[in-house]
């Protein structure tokens, strides 16, 4: 048990942290939503009604989609785009999908390679892009969820303000949708871009996200 915890501490800690923070968001979101309801002549909907509401749904989904977009873009972009001196980059001159030998696929697969890496053909081609595919699909699913939940929440606000509802397509042209979307995207792009550059010059001893403390600034793809 202790070994399991030690060897899976990263996923367990972040998974637990995610659940705690999601609960915190639900509590704070419920309080905020209730304040808005009381201001516009409504009532406290109750906690469980709130956490199954479109209002809570859109607040969750808009952040999920941007996080998965961030990892999707980073996964794909770092295949081709390099950054001198960054541990987030591959070595300079190695942009691209690389050879089968370098990637240990097909006849170059090792004994302990995943079966899909050794199989060859379509199965290997799909598996070779499975990380980007799954993260990209989760991004699309959560962005779609944001459009639906945001549409419902927006129309509820429209009716509360004595205005007509809009269609789903109409919501996609509303400033509310693009404001929610772009404010998340800009922050993710800033965080990723700035981290790639900060990691050129700054160090975090022992972290695989950083170069070793004594590594030179122009050492690319070096992790410690």
């Amino acid at each position: 048990m202790r070994r399991f915890l030690r060897e899976n501490a990263l996923s367990l800690a972040f998974g637990l942290g995610f659940l705690l923070v999601l609960c915190g968001q639900a509590v704070a979101g419920h309080a905020d939503y209730t304040q808005q309801q009381l201001t516009s002549g409504g009532e406290d909907p109750g906690f469980w009604t709130y956490v199954t509401s479109s209002s809570f749904g859109v607040d969750v989904a808009e952040n999920w989609q941007s996080e998965y977009l961030q990892f999707f873009l980073y996964t794909i972009a770092t295949v081709w785009l390099l950054q001198r001196g960054s541990p987030e980059s591959k070595p300079l001159g190695e942009a691209g999908r690389e050879s089968d030998q370098e990637q240990a696929v097909g006849r170059y697969a090792r004994d302990d390679s995943p079966p899909a890496a050794a199989a060859g053909g379509l199965r290997t081609r799909v598996y070779s892009r499975s990380l980007g595919l799954v993260v990209g699909l989760v991004f699309l699913a959560s962005w779609t969820a944001q459009t639906v939940a945001g549409w419902a929440a927006f129309n509820a606000e429209q009716l509360a303000d004595r205005q007509d509802s809009v269609s789903w397509a109409g919501y996609l042209a509303e400033p509310d949708f693009w404001n929610r979307t772009l404010q998340n995207w800009q922050s993710e792009l800033l965080a990723v871009g700035s981290f790639a550059v900060l990691a050129v010059f700054l160090r975090e001893r022992g972290s695989p996200e950083s170069k070793p403390v004594g590594a030179p600034h122009d050492a690319t793809a070096d992790t410690g």
Partner: protein, 143 residues
């Protein structure tokens, strides 16, 4: 679509990845997206019917608390007395839509806005006239 992972197939990581879209999409089914609301429509029909019959007691009972408070405050008297002096267009219900805890019911002569309270759907505004992109102007409304 991608939420359906083959039974017993894949490692934990694959199953977890496939479960994420399911977690995203499932709550949307519970949110009630603009379906025709029998509850709000019924209350609106009762309200309009009571107005046509001059049954202000029933009308007052179907008003949202905040709207009722506003009416009594503005008119300086109990709801029944105040509402008897308000002329509402009435009409026959022709359509309703419900979004979360808000609803709009259209009649042949009026638009009513409703809110869901602990006691059920209640009329938040009535006698409402559209003004293009601007909010409706309502004869009877709360905050």
């Amino acid at each position: 679509m991608e939420s359906r992972s083959p039974a017993g197939a894949g490692r934990v990581g694959h199953r977890a990845a496939a479960a994420v879209p399911a977690l995203l999409v499932a709550p949307l089914l519970l949110m009630g997206c603009g379906t025709v609301s029998s509850g709000a429509e019924t209350v609106a029909r009762d309200f309009v019917g009571a107005a046509a019959a001059g049954d202000v007691r029933t009308e007052c009972g179907l008003l949202a608390p905040a709207t009722r408070d506003t009416l009594e405050h503005q008119r300086g008297g109990p709801c029944e007395t105040a509402l008897a002096r308000v002329a509402l267009p009435g009409g026959t219900v022709v359509g309703a839509e419900e979004w979360a805890d808000r609803a709009q019911v259209r009649t042949t002569a009026d638009s009513l806005f409703l809110t869901r309270t602990s006691g059920g759907w209640r009329v938040a505004a009535a006698g409402c006239v559209p003004r293009g992109e601007a909010p409706y102007i309502c004869t009877l409304e709360g905050p």
